[in-house]
């Protein structure tokens, strides 16, 4: 067994990075430690909590259950790609207005799960929202406010159109 390094080229939030990684480096650790993108949170590292959810070629997946070397040639989006504090993404704005977060630890995972979900389901029912987030744990909010925030974002989006 070797500590061999593998060269990878990964596009994260539109920026191309070239790095060398050990095969055992998790994508979540690569994002946080190698690229300094601390928005992706790490809770359990075995797929249960959903805090580490990112977009891999557009689909929401667990970054703790993918090796960084497997991201070679792929496109990643993290929560840093959404809004800025001055200019929040519409879903972030709705989370803010509806009090859909308290400590905020789970929030990046919820956002990265729900952004593509809302693109595919612009008018979701409460049940559909609950199904979409059944892989994200929140210890603070009790989920009600999160569902409300998603409905709020969906309503504002259809008004804007």
């Amino acid at each position: 067994m070797s500590n061999k390094l593998f060269p990878i080229t990964v596009t994260v939030n539109g920026v191309e990075y070239k790095r060398e990684v050990e095969a055992r480096l998790l994508l979540s650790d690569f994002l946080r430690h190698d690229l300094g993108l601390l928005g992706t949170h790490v809770g359990c590292e075995h797929g249960i909590c959903g805090a580490c959810t990112i977009l891999f070629d557009g689909g929401a997946v667990r970054s703790c259950l993918i090796f960084a070397v497997q991201a070679n040639g792929h496109e990643i989006r993290t929560v840093e790609s959404l809004g800025t504090p001055e200019n929040l993404h519409p879903l972030q704005q709705s989370f803010h207005e509806k009090h859909a977060l308290q400590c905020g630890f789970c929030t990046p995972g919820f956002l990265m799960t729900l952004v593509p979900f809302l693109e595919e389901n612009p008018h979701p029912s409460d049940d559909e929202i609950r199904e979409a987030i059944d892989g994200n744990i929140c210890r603070c909010t009790g989920y009600e406010k999160i569902v409300e925030a998603v409905q709020d974002a969906a309503a504002k989006n259809s008004q804007a159109k």
Partner: protein, 293 residues
């Protein structure tokens, strides 16, 4: 970094993957979606010395109709893509019904159809469904291939007949006859959690509403998925009445299953909910068969 060091190979074709597996022998392990394997490596429960990653082998991902009206599914097809395949929706509604109980949406995006079956988790849905439907498994190794019946693939908890130098390549699903209904029911503590008990069934009726075929699998109540013999023995040739279905349930939970007591449920509780689930699943499968599937 949580997992131990390992050698990593990312072949770009099936032949290259099989060459690598042949060279590595007992040291090699296939990496599919990683949704079970990487989790186990993060715990250091799994410490493979070399991984052969199949994610760069596009020829292993497909859902293709077969000549007889069934489907062939490539092992690396993501569960998400199976769940959203029009071909699957049309032919095998059971796979759609069961999918939403498998883990969580983000895990189904990455986890693969063949990987879930090869993992042979006694609490996993797809291993049980592969037994129930008797999916034909194509197993390849360098210069060779063999077919194994779904019923013979799984030989123990997390154990299959697939050897370290081999890989599962494809699963073939035979078409269902007309007037076939199916159903999946489970009890779990929370959405996306592993089932404490689950039952899947497939029933085919004749023109006189008698059972032509009745198959049922019981999950999470033994070391492997349990294919019930009782459902066929009692129902085939007869009308699937409430009494007959209750008799299947009674015999199945007293003679066919061997549930364990663990953190998630006691053996008695598992037996008791299994009896209810058998009745529900067979009753619903019969109703759906009457409506044409």
């Amino acid at each position: 970094m949580k997992p131990v060091n390992f050698d990593y190979y990312a072949p770009s074709s099936v032949d290259e993957a099989l060459d690598t597996l042949a060279e590595l022998g007992y040291d090699g392990k296939v990496l599919a979606g990683g949704q079970s394997l990487i989790a186990a490596m993060n715990f250091r429960m799994a410490r493979p010395s070399a991984l052969v990653d199949l994610n760069n082998v596009p020829e292993l991902s497909y859902v293709k109709p077969t000549e007889d009206g069934g489907l062939a599914i490539g092992t690396m097809t993501r569960v998400f893509d199976v769940e959203h395949s029009a071909e699957v929706i049309k032919r095998f509604p059971l796979l759609i019904e069961v999918s939403k109980y498998i883990a969580h949406p983000q895990i189904r995006r990455r986890g693969t159809f063949g990987g879930a079956i090869a993992h042979a988790d006694p609490a996993g849905q797809l291993p049980s469904i592969s037994v129930l439907m008797n999916m034909q498994a194509l197993i390849k190794s360098k210069g060779e291939e063999r077919w194994v019946d779904g019923q013979d693939l799984i030989i123990g908890p997390f154990m299959t007949v697939i050897e370290p130098h081999e890989m599962l390549a494809e699963l073939v699903l035979k078409p269902w006859p007309a007037r076939t209904g199916s159903n999946y029911v489970q009890v779990s503590r929370q959405s996306g959690g592993y089932a404490q008990s689950a039952v899947a069934s497939i029933v085919t009726l004749d023109e006189n509403e008698r059972c032509k075929d009745a198959r049922m699998v019981l999950m999470s109540v033994g070391e492997v998925p349990i294919l019930s013999q009782k459902a066929g023995e009692i129902l085939v040739g007869n009308a699937p009445t409430r009494e007959a279905i209750e008799e299947v349930a009674e015999l199945a939970v007293t003679t066919e299953i061997d549930p364990a007591t663990d953190l998630h449920a006691t053996a008695d509780y598992r037996r008791s909910i299994t009896r209810v689930l058998v009745v529900r699943s067979l009753t619903e499968a019969v109703e759906r068969a009457k409506r044409g599937g």
